[in-house]
C-alpha cells in the first residue's frame, strides 16, 4: 500500500498502522497496572517474595531475554529488507523470528515444568501466583504473536499482497511482546 511513499520519501512516518500503536500503548498501560500491583504487594511483604524468587534461575531468564531480543532484532531486519524490496531475505528473517519465538516458548514451558516439579504451583505462594500469572499472560500474547507472524509471512510470500504497512504492523506487535518480556523479566527475576 505504502511501498512507493516509503521508498521515495525519507520523511518521517509512523511504522505500520497507527491503530496498532493505540493497541501497544493501551496494552502497555494494562501491563503497567499488573506490574504496579505486583511491586506494591511485593514491597509490603518482601521476605515472602524473596523466598519464592530465590527458587528461580536467573540464568534461564537471561537466556530467555537474549532469545527474545534476538527475535526482535530479526523481525526488525525483516521490516527493513521488505522496505527495500529484498523479500527473500525478509521472508528468511520472518521464519527466523518464528523459530526464536518457538525456542522462547519451549524454554518457558520447560521452566514452568521445572517449577511445578519443585512444588511451586500457581497457588502455592504469592510470588508464584504472580510469576505464573505474568509469564502466563505474556505467553498468551506470544501465542497471538505467532498468528501475527503468520500474517507477516502470508503477506511476504505472494507478490500480489506484500503490504509494507501490514508487515510493519505485525513487527510492531512482535516488538511489544519483546519489550513486555523485558519488563517482566526485570521485575520477576532481578528486582529485590
Amino acid at each position: 500500500m505504502t511501498e512507493l511513499t516509503d521508498k521515495n520519501k525519507r520523511t518521517r512516518f509512523v511504522p505500520g498502522q497507527p491503530d496498532m500503536w493505540a493497541f501497544v500503548l493501551f496494552e502497555t498501560l494494562v501491563f503497567t497496572a499488573y506490574f504496579g500491583f505486583y511491586l506494591f504487594y511485593r514491597a509490603k511483604s518482601p521476605e515472602l517474595f524473596l523466598h519464592g524468587q530465590a527458587q528461580l534461575d536467573l540464568r534461564i531468564g537471561v537466556l530467555n531475554t537474549l532469545v527474545l531480543l534476538l527475535s526482535s532484532w530479526s523481525v526488525a531486519r525483516c521490516v527493513q529488507s521488505a522496505r527495500v524490496g529484498a523479500y527473500r531475505a525478509a521472508l528468511r528473517d520472518g521464519y527466523l523470528t518464528a523459530f526464536l519465538g518457538l525456542a522462547f516458548m519451549v524454554s518457558k514451558v520447560l521452566e514452568w515444568a521445572r517449577q511445578i516439579r519443585m512444588g511451586n504451583g500457581f497457588g502455592s505462594s504469592d510470588f508464584f501466583t504472580y510469576y505464573f500469572f505474568l509469564t502466563g499472560i505474556h505467553f498468551v500474547h506470544l501465542v497471538i504473536g505467532f498468528v501475527v507472524l503468520g500474517v507477516l509471512v502470508y503477506q511476504l510470500r505472494s507478490a500480489a499482497r506484500r503490504s509494507q504497512e501490514l508487515v510493519e504492523t505485525c513487527a510492531t506487535y512482535w516488538h511489544t511482546v519483546d519489550f513486555l518480556w523485558v519488563l517482566i523479566f526485570a521485575l520477576l527475576y532481578v528486582v529485590r
Binding site: 503497567t32 511491586l39 510493519e168 529485590r192
Partner: protein
C-alpha cells in the same frame, strides 16, 4: 548499500540490549555477597531504570520510532517515563506501608 548500514546499526542495538541484560547478572551477583536474601531499594530502582532504558531503546530502534513523527516520539517517551514512575511509586508506597 543502505540496508547493510541499517543492519549493522540493528546489530549494535542488539548488543547494547544484551549487555544491559547481562548487567542484571552482575547486579544480582553483587547483592548476594552475604548469602542471605535481602530486599534492596537500590537494586529495585536501578533494575527498573535499566529496564525502562531497554524499553526505550526497543521503541526507538527496533520499532523505528526514531523515524516516526514527533508526536509518536513524545508519546512513547512519555509512556516510558510513565511506566518507570508508576512502578517506582508502587514499590515505594508498598515499602512505606510495610
Amino acid at each position: 548499500m543502505i540496508d547493510i548500514k541499517f543492519n549493522k546499526r540493528l546489530l549494535v542495538v542488539w548488543l547494547v540490549l544484551s549487555a544491559l541484560t547481562l548487567a542484571y547478572l552482575w547486579i544480582d551477583h553483587s547483592v548476594d555477597g552475604g548469602g542471605s536474601l535481602r530486599g534492596s531499594a537500590v537494586v529495585t530502582s536501578s533494575v527498573i531504570v535499566i529496564a525502562s532504558i531497554k524499553v526505550r531503546i526497543i521503541f526507538r530502534e527496533f520499532m523505528e520510532v526514531r523515524q516516526a513523527p514527533v508526536l509518536l516520539c513524545r508519546l512513547t517517551d512519555a509512556w516510558v517515563v510513565l511506566i518507570a514512575v508508576s512502578l517506582l511509586a508502587c514499590y515505594f508506597v508498598g515499602v512505606a506501608l510495610r
